[in-house]
C-alpha cells in the first residue's frame, strides 16, 4: 500500500515537472509579445532634428580635435541598445527583446528601440523616480503631508503623455491644493516638517529650486556672501558675486506658502512677509521676493510662486534649459556634461553642445522625448567604450569614447532580475511576476544600498555590495540549478548544445555574444557534464557573469 502511494506520488510529481517544462518551452519559443511602435521614424524627421544633431556632432568633434584626440570606433547596435535600456528603464534587455530587435532592419534598430522604450510605461515611471529624487529628495518627508507615490505617479503621467517640461515644473512651483488630489503640491509639502508650523520651508525650497531647476548651487549664500568666488550670477565679462541677499530674496517667494485653515483646502498663499537678519546686521528686516539674475524676465503680476514659476521656465532663462539638458545627459551617459549635475555656470564656459541642445529644447516646446532622442542619436552616445589606442580620462572627458560608469543600485537590481528571465519584465508581465520583481528589488536595494539624491556621484564598490552579489538571495535563487524559473535552469533544460547554451547566457545577461576566448573556455568548462552537473555548470557561468565588472558597469 505504502509502495503504491509512493509510486502515485512520484508519478504526480513527474507530471508536474513535465507540465512545467512544457510551459517553459512554450514561453521560450512563443511568438514575441513586443509590438513595434508605428511611425517611429516621424520623430526623427521632425522640424530641425537633423540640423541640431549635426551641430551636436560637429561641436563634439571640434572638442575632440582641439584636444588632439581621436574617436573610438562606433559601438555595435546591441551595446547601444543596452545603454538605452539602462538609461531609460533601468535594466538590460531581455532575451525576448534582443530577439525582437534582431528582426528589425539593422539601420533602423536604434531608432526603433528608442521609440519603443519611450512608449513603454517603464520609461515614464523610471524617469519620474529619477527626477523626483532631485525635486523632493529621498527622505520620508512629513508624515501624512507628503505622498511620494502620488507625486511620482503624477510625474510619470506627465512624462508619459509627453507634456511640455516647462509646464510640469511650473505646476510644481505654483500649485495650490491638497497633496492627495493635487499631487504636484507635494513638491511644497515635502518641506513642511514640525519646525515650520504648517508652512513651506522657504530656505529648503530656495535651495531646491536653484539646484534642480537652475543648476545653481547657492546654498552657501544662505549664511554669508560668497567669498570663494564660487557663485557668479553675471557673465565672464561682467561677474556678479553671489550675496546672501540673493538667496533670501529667492526664498521670499515662498514666504506666503502655508497650510489652509481649514486644512482640507491644502496649500494656499497668504500675505506673510519674509523676514531675515542678515549677517552683520543687528535687526531683522523684511525681504521682498526677487530673482538672482535675469531680473528682466520676472513678471510683475501674479502671486509670488506664479511669478517665480514663469521666471524659472521663461524661454530666455538659459539656466533652466541648461539644467534640464545636463540632467537628461547624465541619465543617458550616467555622467553629466558639466559636473556636478546641479551646478552649471551661467556664463559661456560650458561645452557648446549644452547650449545647442538647450536651444533645441526651448524651441521645441521643452520636449523631453525629443531631447532624449537627440542624445541617443549623437555620435558621442554611439561610440564604443574600448578602442585600438590607449584610452585615458581625457578621451572620456571630451566624449570621444563612451565613459565606463558604475551602474546605480536600481540598475543593478533591474539588470539582475531581467538577466535571469528570458522574457521582458514589463507591463505585460503577470501581476505575480511584477509583484515578485518589486519585492525582490526592494529587498535587494535594502541590502545593496541606495545612493539617495546623489545619483551621479562616482562611488566605489563596497564590500557589502560585493557580498550581496556573490552570496545574496537574488543571485543565489536565479543561478540555482534546481530553480524552475531561473534562466540558468531553463537554458540548461532547453538547449542541448553547450556552445549555444553559452551564447544564450551571454546574450541574456550581458546582451552580447561571447568572445572566442570566452566561448572556448566556457564550453570546456561545461564539457562532459550531464544532468544536474550541467545545470550546475550553467548556474556557475551565470553567477560569474552577474559578479563581473562588466555586468555592474555601463559601457
Amino acid at each position: 500500500m505504502v509502495a503504491r502511494r509512493r509510486l502515485i506520488k512520484r508519478l504526480l510529481m513527474g507530471a508536474v515537472v513535465l507540465t512545467a517544462l512544457l510551459i517553459v518551452a512554450a514561453t521560450l519559443r512563443r511568438r514575441t509579445r513586443i509590438q513595434p511602435p508605428q511611425q517611429f521614424q516621424a520623430a526623427y524627421q521632425a522640424n530641425a532634428f537633423a540640423e541640431t544633431l549635426q551641430n551636436v556632432n560637429q561641436q563634439v568633434q571640434a572638442t575632440i580635435g582641439e584636444a588632439e584626440l581621436e574617436w573610438a570606433p562606433a559601438a555595435d547596435n546591441l551595446t547601444i541598445a543596452r545603454r538605452l535600456s539602462l538609461a531609460l528603464v533601468g535594466s538590460g534587455l531581455s532575451l525576448e527583446e534582443v530577439q525582437t530587435l534582431a528582426q528589425v532592419k539593422e539601420s533602423d534598430q536604434i531608432r526603433w528601440w528608442t521609440s519603443y522604450l519611450l512608449e513603454d510605461r517603464r520609461w515614464s515611471d523610471y524617469f519620474a523616480d529619477r527626477f523626483s529624487r532631485a525635486y523632493v529628495g529621498t527622505n520620508d518627508g512629513p508624515f501624512l503631508l507628503f505622498r511620494r507615490r502620488k507625486f511620482n505617479a503624477w510625474l510619470s503621467q506627465q512624462f508619459s503623455e509627453g507634456r511640455a517640461y516647462d509646464q510640469i515644473v511650473s505646476e510644481m512651483l505654483s500649485a495650490e491644493g491638497l497633496w492627495t488630489d493635487t499631487p504636484q503640491v507635494n513638491f511644497i509639502t515635502a518641506t513642511m516638517d514640525d519646525a515650520n508650523e504648517g508652512r513651506g520651508d522657504p530656505i529648503r525650497l530656495a535651495g531646491r529650486v536653484s539646484r534642480v531647476f537652475l543648476a545653481q548651487r547657492v546654498d552657501c549664500l544662505q549664511c554669508h556672501d560668497d567669498y570663494l568666488g564660487n557663485v557668479n550670477f553675471g557673465s565672464l565679462d561682467q561677474p556678479v558675486d553671489g550675496a546672501q541677499t540673493h538667496f533670501h530674496e529667492l526664498a521670499a517667494f515662498f514666504a506666503g506658502t502655508a497650510m489652509a485653515d481649514p486644512v482640507f483646502r491644502g496649500i494656499v498663499e497668504d500675505e506673510q512677509e519674509y523676514q531675515f537678519e542678515y549677517l552683520g546686521e543687528s535687526e531683522t528686516q523684511v525681504v521682498a521676493p526677487n530673482v538672482p539674475f535675469a531680473q528682466d524676465l520676472l513678471p510683475d503680476d501674479g502671486k509670488p510662486r506664479q511669478r517665480l514659476a514663469r521666471w524659472v521656465t521663461h524661454t530666455n532663462n538659459r539656466a533652466f534649459s541648461r539644467a534640464t539638458v545636463n540632467r537628461v545627459w547624465a541619465l543617458m551617459f550616467s555622467r553629466p556634461l558639466v559636473t556636478p549635475v546641479d551646478n552649471v555656470p551661467l556664463d559661456d564656459t560650458v561645452p557648446a553642445v549644452m547650449d545647442t541642445l538647450a536651444e533645441d529644447f526651448v524651441n521645441h516646446r521643452f520636449d523631453l522625448k525629443r531631447l532624449i532622442r537627440l542624445i541617443a542619436e549623437s555620435d558621442a552616445f554611439r561610440r564604443a567604450s574600448r578602442a585600438p589606442f590607449e584610452i585615458t580620462e581625457a578621451h572620456e572627458a571630451c566624449w570621444s569614447v563612451f565613459p565606463v560608469t558604475q551602474l546605480r543600485p536600481e540598475q543593478v537590481a533591474g539588470s539582475m532580475l531581467q538577466a535571469c528571465k528570458l522574457t521582458a519584465l514589463d507591463g505585460s508581465s503577470s501581476i505575480f511576476t511584477r509583484l515578485k520583481a518589486y519585492g525582490d528589488t526592494q529587498d535587494f536595494l535594502k541590502r545593496f544600498g541606495d545612493r539617495g539624491e546623489d545619483e551621479f556621484d562616482g562611488q566605489a564598490v563596497t564590500i557589502p555590495q560585493r557580498l550581496v552579489l556573490m552570496n545574496g538571495k537574488l543571485a543565489t535563487e536565479n543561478t540555482n540549478s534546481n530553480s524552475m524559473t531561473g534562466a540558468a535552469s531553463r537554458i540548461a533544460t532547453l538547449v542541448e548544445d553547450d556552445q549555444q547554451a553559452v551564447q544564450l547566457i551571454f546574450v541574456s545577461a550581458l546582451n552580447r555574444m561571447p568572445s572566442e576566448t570566452e566561448l572556448s573556455k566556457f564550453v570546456v568548462f561545461m564539457q562532459d557534464k550531464q544532468g544536474n552537473a550541467r545545470r550546475k555548470a550553467i548556474g556557475d557561468i551565470y553567477w560569474a557573469i552577474l559578479n563581473s565588472t562588466e555586468f555592474s558597469w555601463n559601457h
Binding site: 514640525d194 585615458t392 563596497t462 560585493r466 552570496n471 543565489t476 570566452e518 573556455k521 563581473s548
Partner: protein, 433 residues
Amino acid sequence: MHRRRMLTSIATATGAAWMTRFAEQLSRAAEGAAQTRPKSLMMIWLQGGASQLETFDPHPGTKYGGETRGITTSIPNVQIADTLPATAEQLHHATLLRSIVSQEGDHERATYHLKTGWRPDPTLVHPAIGSVVCYQSANNLEIPRHISIVPGEWPARGGYLGPSFDAFQIGDVAAPIPNLTPRVSEESLTQRLDVLLGTLEDEFQRGRLANLNRQRTLHQTATENAVRMMSSDQLTAFDVQQESASTVDKFGDNAFGRGCLAGIRLLSAGVRCVEVELGGWDTHINNHELQSSKARVLDAALAATLSELHARDMLNDTIVFCGGEFGRTPQINPAGGRDHWPHGFSAVLAGGNFRRGYVHGATAANPESDIINRKGNATVDPQKITENIVPVPDLHATLLRALGIDHEFEMQTPVGRPLRWSDGQVVTDLLQS
C-alpha cells in the same frame, strides 16, 4: 576546512594573480596587527528620543517629573532615574551630560545632526563620526572597521567620504552575518572566481581605460576584500558565545545586549567604531511605561558595557557615547506621553580622557510654560531652561578631541568646498586636563 586555509588554497591552487596578491595582503595585515591601539568609538544609540526625565535627568516630585523616582549613583550626590539601577552603580566611570541642545526636532533630521555634528544640508551629506574615525586611520583589518549592529532606519553613513565608510550593518549577532557564507562548495567557488570570473575580467579590460580596476572600478579589489572577509578568523569577534554564560547574561538576553557585548569584542579586535541601536523611545503616548520598559533593556547592557570595558582595561582606548537624537518634553501630554524636545537632553560619555564621575549641565525642573509649549520648535532660547548648554556641534568637537582627532582639520569635499570635521568648540570642562 579552516577559513584561511580555504582562502589560501583558492589563491594558490588556481594561480589567480589577484587572489594571490590578496593572500600577501593577509600576511601583511597580520604583521601590523600588534601595533599600538588608536582610540575607538562605541555609539550606544537610543533611536526615537529617550526621555531625559525617565533616564539620566529625573526631576522627581516636580510638576513635570511624572512617576519616575530618583536613585543614588556611584557619583556622590547625583541621582538618575530609578529605571536604571545597574547603570547607577557604574556611573563613576562616566561623564553625565545633561545639557545637550539641538536645533532639530524631527527624527530624521535630528538623527543626522547628532550622528554627524552638522544640520542636514541639501548640498552635501556629512559623514557620521564613526566614518571620520575610520577615515583618519589606516585599514589593517579583514573585517569592516565601522559596524552598525541592529540598525534602524538611519545607520551611520560615510557621506561625502564615500560609501566605503558607511557602517557595515548586521542584525542580532545571534544569527549568522548575512551573505557571508558562499552558497556553493569550496571547489565551485574556486572555479567561479578563477576560471569563469577571471576570464570575464580579462576580456572586459581589453582595450579599455588603462588600469581600469585600480583607477576606476575597484571591482576586483572589492571582490578580494569580500572574499578576505568571508575567510577571516576575525569574524569570531562577532560571536558572543565565545564569552562565558555569566558575561552574556550580564548584558541581557536580547539583540541589543548581545550587540553591546559583540561591540566590545569587535573593538578589541581592532574595529574603530561600533554603533549599537536600541529603538522604540518615541513615546508620544504612555510615556512612563514605555520608557521604563526600554530603560530595563538599556540598563543591563550599558552597565555591563562600562564595567566590562573597565575590567578589560579598554576604557582608556574606547570612547563611549550613549544617547539619542533629542529628549522629550517636560510637559506630559493628554495621552500620557511626552513629545520631542531638543532644548536640553542627556547623554553618557565615557572613556579616553572624558572625566570620570562628573556631571555637566542641568535642566530646569519647572521651565517656563511659554517655552515648554513650543515643543520641538527650534526658535526657543535654550539658555532660559538649561544651564551650561552644549550644542550638538560642540559635543562633536569634544568627542573628536577625545578620539585624538583634530576637529578643525579641513577636508576638501568632492565639490571642492573646504570643510572642517566640526564647526563646534571643544567643551574642555568635559575632559580631564
